[in-house]
């Protein structure tokens, strides 16, 4: 195969070797990158300009690339190299008609005398001792007037601190010039150095004002040495001849692609380094986490082992083994029941107060309940089921497990009123909201599926254990207000709970005798401690269970009499249509107003003849149907549900309780007076029901005393576990908190409230505090309070709470809804997470609360009950006045 003719190109095309040669350090080979490549190619490119049409000798031609480069322009090129293998390689790699390679020594060049016009010898001289002999040989093979281009490293510059083991004798500039002058009359000595920097270029011919050769050598980060010449160049390139030298063009070799590659590699390396560092940090964190888990596991296992040892000891006693076997078997059954999702632990506890707090409900059911006719769920009647399956009693087979294993698949009824399918569906939905077998958590939006067992429920009133039952009638009667709600406000854990509690407090403070009737949503029933505490705070309290149990504490004999009369009676079933609600709302109304609740409110209203009957939330408005003549019917709306969906859906949050305008208006018309939580919603309510009175009452707060500026850069978030809060917090942690931490690695975020249950532990700088007794100490530690819920309606009570604690707040626009311009101006409002992070950062600086502190007195007035409830007070007075003759008007309602 013959080599094809090379193509002439305005660009100099570097020859490509036919076969690669390994780089040993002794000689440059194509493919080496960086300075070595630049130095070698630059010399040959320089020499190439002198080789056009000439016969050329390349001494020490090495791999052959240089000779091949020269051959592209020369008449002929001979490459001479000592190593026969390298010569053979070069001949194979670079075949061209005008290019030949020969084996030979520098001191005895294998060429005829006067046979070439140009001798090129790069980086050769320093490799042997007989340098004068070599120069004489060069002179011999050159034709008269021929040209030598030679390069050599400069001793003391090139090899400073890094001697090249292949170099036998390096020369200084003076020595080199003297050596060359011994054979040639004319010479010029050029310096060569690799550069990183910039070139100032000019087109030729150079204007007279231009002088070349100015150099700036960087000395350190802040300075350059000014200079010129070849003083610091590690290589010298000598051009010599007996004839006057031809014009020479010197300049730069610029390799931008190499720098780009280099930069890319540096970036890649940096990224790899960062990734490795991060990986190590992740591994460390994971190992620490695993270590903690293992420690906890070890502790648990140790306890278990101790327990087993005790049991083993018992087993060693007579009949002990059988007892142990029974115990283990019951444990297994309890675990299996827990996995079915069919057991409502809260319901079981509630309907079996003898259980106490210590015993696990499922294990109780396995051991005792199933054989004592107790029900594991409102829709599973144990006695009924066992009556249908008498064999289970003989076999001592747990009825609930039998239903889960066999009965459900065969469609056996779990309850005389419910089908298997209905039970399973209800249990499934409850499970998806939170396993009923574990402690349920509060949610603002109840599941529609959690429909209580309707009708035929017998009411079973009994006093709240531990509560004072003072039936002395209390203080002199003023206005009597009956408040009906599904929200149990003690102790307050969410904004709505706090607001209801505060409003009741204000009503009582202004002379109202408030009777609070609460029917919690499924799973939100208060524990005994909370109930006892609430009863202490609230002397007239009625907690209505969906199963008909009524726990009560009251001072009013007539109320007590009504409760006694209620014992054992069946709650009336009231169809939705009879309540005046649209049919579509039937299931919602049943959830918020189960029959026992309505029955209880009706009996109390009848007995107490309240001046005001107040329903919290429009969904509880069915109670207003039982208001006696002359009572003012009020709905404290909290939200406008016909506009809420529009406000939250754009933030990707679904609304399960959305109403149409017509539906909401129908419910609102049950009242004489509507309470809006903020002015905008007051306008919306007026638009829905123009014929009803509407006033705004937000929430009152006691404004904190100024405290010393917090010491640490701490942000605080307090929230309940509603969907908007959870969504907002998760986004904040993912999209904003890392930006805060990047700027302030010492920043910390304290999170308090039930919302903690919805986020993972382990986020850098975040502490999950869970439910706390008192928030004030947390506010005192925080430099800024965040309210990250991007959507919502009503009034952002947590925003107001933060302001009342004189803490700057960062929130989304919805977080200042209802505050009014004046208060909203005290908050930092962001419309994206980046801005949110920046505003948090700004307020993490100490002193950001200064403006709030300065306005404390104003805030105290603004958040005082007198200011907040002024309109409500007047409206209540007007409403009652309009409905009662003067003599019957309670003093508390005198406006």
């Amino acid at each position: 195969m013959r080599q094809s003719q090379s193509v002439e190109d305005p660009a100099v095309v570097l020859p490509t070797p036919g076969e690669p040669l390994e780089f040993t350090g002794e000689r440059f080979v194509p493919g080496c990158e960086g300075e070595i490549e630049h130095e070698h190619y630059h010399r040959y490119l320089f020499a190439r300009e002198l080789a056009a049409g000439r016969d050329v000798l390349d001494v020490a031609s090495g791999e052959g690339y240089g000779a091949a480069l020269l051959a592209g322009i020369a008449r002929s090129v001979v490459g001479v190299e000592l190593d026969p293998e390298i010569v053979a390689h070069a001949a194979r790699s670079y075949a061209a008609p005008n290019l030949h390679f020969r084996v030979g020594r520098c001191e005895a060049l294998p060429l005829e005398s006067a046979s070439v016009d140009l001798v090129v010898s790069f980086e050769t001289l320093e490799h042997f001792e007989e340098q004068r002999r070599f120069l004489a040989e060069v002179k011999r093979v050159l034709r008269p007037g021929g040209l030598l281009v030679l390069s050599s490293p400069v001793r003391g510059v090139y090899s400073l601190g890094n001697p090249n083991p292949f170099h036998v004798r390096e020369l200084s500039r003076g020595e080199l010039e003297a050596l060359v002058r011994s054979e040639f009359r004319h010479l010029v000595c050029l310096g060569q150095t690799p550069v990183v920097g910039s070139a100032l270029l000019a087109d030729e011919p150079l204007p007279p004002a231009i002088r070349t050769g100015q150099l700036f050598w960087r000395r350190d980060d802040g300075s350059f040495n000014r200079g010129g010449g070849t003083g610091l160049a590690p290589y010298l390139v000598v051009v010599a001849s007996d004839a006057p030298l031809p014009p020479l063009r010197i300049g730069l070799l610029h390799d931008h692609p190499y720098m780009a590659r280099l930069l890319a590699r540096v970036r890649d390396a940096q990224r790899a380094c960062d990734a490795e560092r991060q990986r190590c940090a992740d591994v460390l964190a994971a190992q620490q986490s695993a270590s903690e888990r293992l420690r906890a596991e070890l502790a648990a296992r140790t306890d278990e082992l101790r327990d087993l040892r005790q049991r083993a000891e018992q087993a060693a006693q007579p009949r002990g083994a059988a007892r142990l076997w029974d115990s283990l078997h019951r444990r297994r059954l309890a675990r299996r029941i827990a996995t079915t999702g069919l057991f409502d632990a809260a319901y079981y506890r509630q309907t079996n107060p003898d259980l106490g707090d210590a015993l696990d409900p499922i294990r109780h059911y396995v051991k005792y309940g199933a054989w004592g006719g107790r029900d594991p769920h409102p829709m599973f009647d144990t006695s009924y089921y066992l009556a249908q399956e008498p064999a289970l009693v003989r076999r001592r087979e747990n009825p609930l497990l039998h239903f889960a294993r066999v009965g459900a698949a065969e469609g056996r009824r779990p309850h005389p009123r419910y089908s298997a399918e209905e039970y399973l569906r209800a249990a499934r939905r409850s499970s998806s909201a939170g396993s009923p077998a574990t402690a349920p958590t509060r949610t603002a939006a109840p599941s529609r599926a959690a429909t209580p067992p309707p009708s035929a429920v017998r009411l079973r009133p009994r006093p709240i254990p531990g509560a004072l039952q003072d039936t002395g009638g209390g203080a002199a009667r003023s206005a009597v207000t009956l408040v009906a709600t599904h929200v149990f406000p003690y102790p307050p854990r969410a904004g709505n709970e706090y607001r209801i509690g505060r409003m009741i407090r204000w009503l009582r403070a202004t002379g109202h005798e408030v009777h609070l009737v609460v029917c919690p949503l499924p799973g939100e029933e208060p524990g005994p401690e909370a109930l006892e505490r609430a009863a202490r705070e609230h002397p007239d309290l009625y907690l209505c269970g969906r199963d008909g149990e009524v726990l009560h504490a009251t001072r009013r004999p007539e109320a007590l009499a009504a409760l006694r009369a209620l014992a054992g009676t069946r709650a009336r079933t009231t169809a939705a249509a009879a309540r005046g609600a649209p049919a579509r709302l039937a299931s919602i109304e049943r959830t918020f107003c189960p029959d026992p609740f309505l029955e209880l409110v009706a009996r109390l209203a009848e007995a107490l003849r309240p001046d005001v009957l107040l329903a919290n939330y429009v969904f509880t408005s069915a109670v207003l149907a039982h208001a006696p003549a002359g009572s003012l019917r009020v709905i404290d709306t909290h939200d406008v549900f016909s506009t809420k969906a529009r406000k939250v859906v754009q933030f990707g949050v679904p609304d399960d309780l959305a109403l149409t305008g017509e539906e909401e208006a129908a419910l609102l018309r049950r009242a004489d007076l509507l309470v809006a939580i903020q002015p905008e919603e007051e306008r919306e309510l007026r638009a829905l029901v123009p014929d009803r009175a509407v006033v705004t009452a937000g929430v009152d707060f006691e404004v904190a005393e100024p405290a010393p500026a917090p010491r640490d850069p701490i942000a605080l978030y307090v929230g309940s576990r509603n969907g908007l809060n959870v969504r907002g917090l998760r986004d904040f942690l993912a999209l904003a908190w890392p930006l805060v931490r990047r700027v302030r690695p010492d920043a910390r975020l304290l999170i308090a409230g039930p919302v903690c249950d919805a986020v993972e532990e382990g986020v850098e700088g975040v502490e999950l505090l869970g439910r706390v007794e008192r928030l004030e100490p947390l506010y005192a530690r925080a430099r800024v309070v965040v309210n990250p819920a991007a959507a919502g309606t009503g009034l952002k009570i947590k925003t107001v709470e933060a302001l009342s604690n004189l803490r700057p707040v960062v929130a989304w626009p919805s977080g200042v809804d209802g505050l009014g311009d004046e208060l909203a101006a005290l908050c930092a409002v962001a419309t994206d997470w980046s801005a949110f992070a920046r505003k948090v950062l700004e307020r993490l600086d100490a002193g950001a609360a200064g403006e709030l502190v300065a306005r404390r007195e104003h805030l105290a007035r603004r958040f005082s009950p007198e200011h907040v409830y002024a309109a409500l007070r007047a409206a209540l007075a007007r409403g009652v006045r309009a409905r009662l003759p003067r003599a019957a008007r309670p003093a508390a309602l005198h406006a």
């Binding site: 094809s4 692609p257 754009q650 890392p738």
Partner: protein, 621 residues
């Protein structure tokens, strides 16, 4: 080296030598060339020659008898046998070169030259697709020095003495010399002697009908089918790789500097939808129209893509094909990656130089979008293509990491256009955040759109790519069917363009958005530094890795705030304009011209041998 022991000259059937005088003049000329030594054994049926010249013998009976006679002289002389059929007059140097060729291997039984027509161009070998299409003289240096093949009767050949000594055909057999000769060549082949076609030796064969006479049966006899091994030998000769090579090599050099070379653009990667590959292919076509290289250009498209993209309008001069052509080309360029080895073979058999344009390596990397054959095809082209084009050094690096490229494969980074497609909307303030991509997983559109919806609920977000549920602030558009103008309008109207792809070969939309003056937020990749270096503002390019960085960068871009940016224009000369498709096409043209100029046949044969192996059977017998 043994000399010629005897020259056997067949002067039968040559009209211009049908007279004794002409025959004698021819023999004298031959003697001048061969020198006084070799005896000349002449098969002659014409009028008596009178007194033959010294050392000239005549056979007048049959070709077989003449061959037997000449063989006997060779056996006696110790030299080789030179056979000349018709008015062929080889020079002494040519004959010497053929004799030298015999010395290459003891089992080379016969050496024959190539034959030049009066024009100087060379006769094709028997069995070529077009037996009358002469091989241009200019491509002769590109042929291998020789082909080792099966027997083939030619107008000039030298037969090794050892082979001739074993000639054993019936002296009373065939009446014509070609027939007798073929019989002996076949017999010799069975004994192990092969034929060498020596491409470095050319003998003038002007004035003869064909230098490869087709032996026929004796006059009046019916043609008998050749023995099976002769048929196989014919097949071997006809189907040999050199036949395919000579079919393409005719285009390897321009007859005149200004002459157009035939080039095939394989555009079958353009699917019937709007995507990056289609844009790149059409971009190159448009650029080639502007560059107008000295090429006779055929563009091969899938029929369904022609209907959508109308390539003829992008480059009116191009001939649009929708099926593989029968003809051959100087070069073939696949304008995107080859997906099958069969595609490579199709182009290889039709062109001298092969170039493949690697747009990305995603199909291989994600191991699912492509086929198993991708691995083989890409490894093959990395080792054996003449050239590889890359749309970025980033793609080049990714490709080379997976498929080490042979040192002599010419590699060129073409880039794509980084200039503005138009002036539309350059000064508009922007209306929406545009998340740009398609429905492939590596584009990351869905997750990015979800983050932006949550982080910027008050912004309008347009997501181009997968099917997503529209929301109050999200409009999802399916990619692929939107015309380029509509996409440009979306980009030009964006406040910020977010390009969240994990992996691109070039990222044309990013370059276009920058050119349109849009701020662009991209997932960090070394690629963007390269693309930014070739782009000019007024846009800005910001990188992100994590979701919170995305949010931060988008916010900065919206607000026009300073941010760490990928610098623009660093890879362009000072004051230099961004790249246009013309620039990219110019680079492509230079690259292809270099592969053609550097074509010497070695890589072609290397490819051919591997492709033969890839398609060969494995059973013996």
């Amino acid at each position: 080296m043994a000399p010629i022991g005897c020259a056997l000259i067949d002067l039968t059937g040559v009209p211009e030598l049908s007279t004794p005088a002409a025959a004698l003049r021819h023999l004298a000329a031959l003697r001048d060339r061969l020198g006084p030594e070799p005896p000349l054994h002449v098969f002659w049926r014409g009028a008596p020659l009178g007194a033959p010249p010294p050392r000239v013998w005549l056979s007048r009976v049959s070709g077989a008898r003449a061959l037997a006679g000449a063989s006997a002289r060779v056996a006696a002389s110790g030299g080789h046998l030179l056979v000349l059929l018709g008015a062929v007059l080889p020079g002494a140097a040519a004959v010497d070169a053929l004799v030298d060729a015999l010395a290459l291997d003891p089992l080379v039984g016969f050496a024959q030259p190539r034959f030049a027509a009066a024009s100087g161009d060379v006769w094709p070998l028997p069995g070529s697709a077009d037996p009358l299409a002469l091989l241009p003289r200019r491509v002769l240096p590109l042929l291998p020095d020789r082909y080792l093949t099966t027997e083939r009767v030619a107008a000039c050949l030298v037969a090794r003495r050892e082979a001739v000594a074993s000639f054993a055909a019936d002296p009373d057999g065939g009446t014509e010399l070609p027939e007798a000769l073929r019989s002996e060549l076949s017999l010799a082949r069975r004994r192990g002697f092969r034929t060498l076609v020596v491409n470095t030796v050319t003998v003038a064969a002007a004035g003869i009908a064909s230098p490869y006479p087709r032996p026929g049966p004796p006059a009046g006899a019916a043609e008998e089918p050749p023995p099976p091994d002769v048929r196989r030998a014919d097949d071997l000769f006809t189907r040999a790789a050199h036949q395919r090579f000579e079919a393409v090599v005719v285009h390897a050099r321009r007859p005149r500097p200004e002459a157009a070379l035939p080039v095939l653009l394989d555009c079958r990667g353009a699917s019937p939808r709007h995507n990056g590959t289609s844009d790149a292919i059409l971009g190159f076509l448009g650029g080639l129209r502007e560059v107008a290289p000295a090429w006779e250009l055929d563009a091969l498209f899938r029929p369904e893509a022609v209907d959508l993209h109308r390539p003829a309008s992008a480059y009116p001069g191009v001939r649009v094909l929708t099926a593989l052509p029968e003809r051959t080309y100087a070069a073939a360029v696949r304008l995107d990656q080859p997906w099958h080895l069969s595609t490579v073979a199709e182009l290889h058999r039709r062109a001298c130089a092969l170039t493949f344009n690697i747009l990305d390596t995603i199909a291989w990397d994600v191991a699912g979008a492509g086929t198993l054959d991708v691995e083989r095809a890409w490894r093959f082209v990395a080792e054996r293509a003449d050239g590889l084009l890359f749309n970025s050094a980033f793609t080049q690096g990714r490709f080379q990491f997976r498929f080490p490229i042979a040192p002599d494969v010419l590699q060129t980074v073409t880039h794509h256009a980084t200039g503005a497609p138009g002036a539309t909307g350059r000064d508009r303030p922007g209306e929406h955040l545009l998340v740009f991509g398609n429905d492939l997983a590596h584009k990351g559109v869905a997750a990015t759109a979800a983050v932006l919806r949550r982080a910027f609920p008050y912004e309008r977000i347009v997501a181009l790519g997968p099917t997503l549920d529209d929301g109050p602030n999200l409009t999802a558009l399916s990619s692929g069917r939107l015309p380029a103008e509509e996409i440009e309008r979306l980009v030009a109207g964006a406040r910020v363009v977010v390009f969240p792809s994990f992996y691109e070969g070039f990222g044309l939309p990013v370059a276009q958005a920058l050119a349109l003056g849009r701020p662009v937020v991209v997932r960090a990749s070394p690629l963007w530094w390269e693309i930014a270096g070739l782009s000019r503002g007024p846009g800005r390019l910001l990188e992100f890795v994590a979701a919170h960085e995305l949010v931060e960068q988008v916010a900065r871009a919206i607000a026009g705030e300073p941010a760490p940016e990928v610098p623009l224009g660093g890879g362009l000369p000072a004051g230099g304009a961004p790249l246009t498709w013309r620039d990219c096409a110019r680079t492509l043209v230079d690259h292809v011209e270099r592969t053609i100029a550097g074509f010497d046949g070695r890589r072609w044969f290397s490819r051919e041998h591997v492709l033969e192996l890839a398609t060969a059977g494995t059973a013996e017998g």
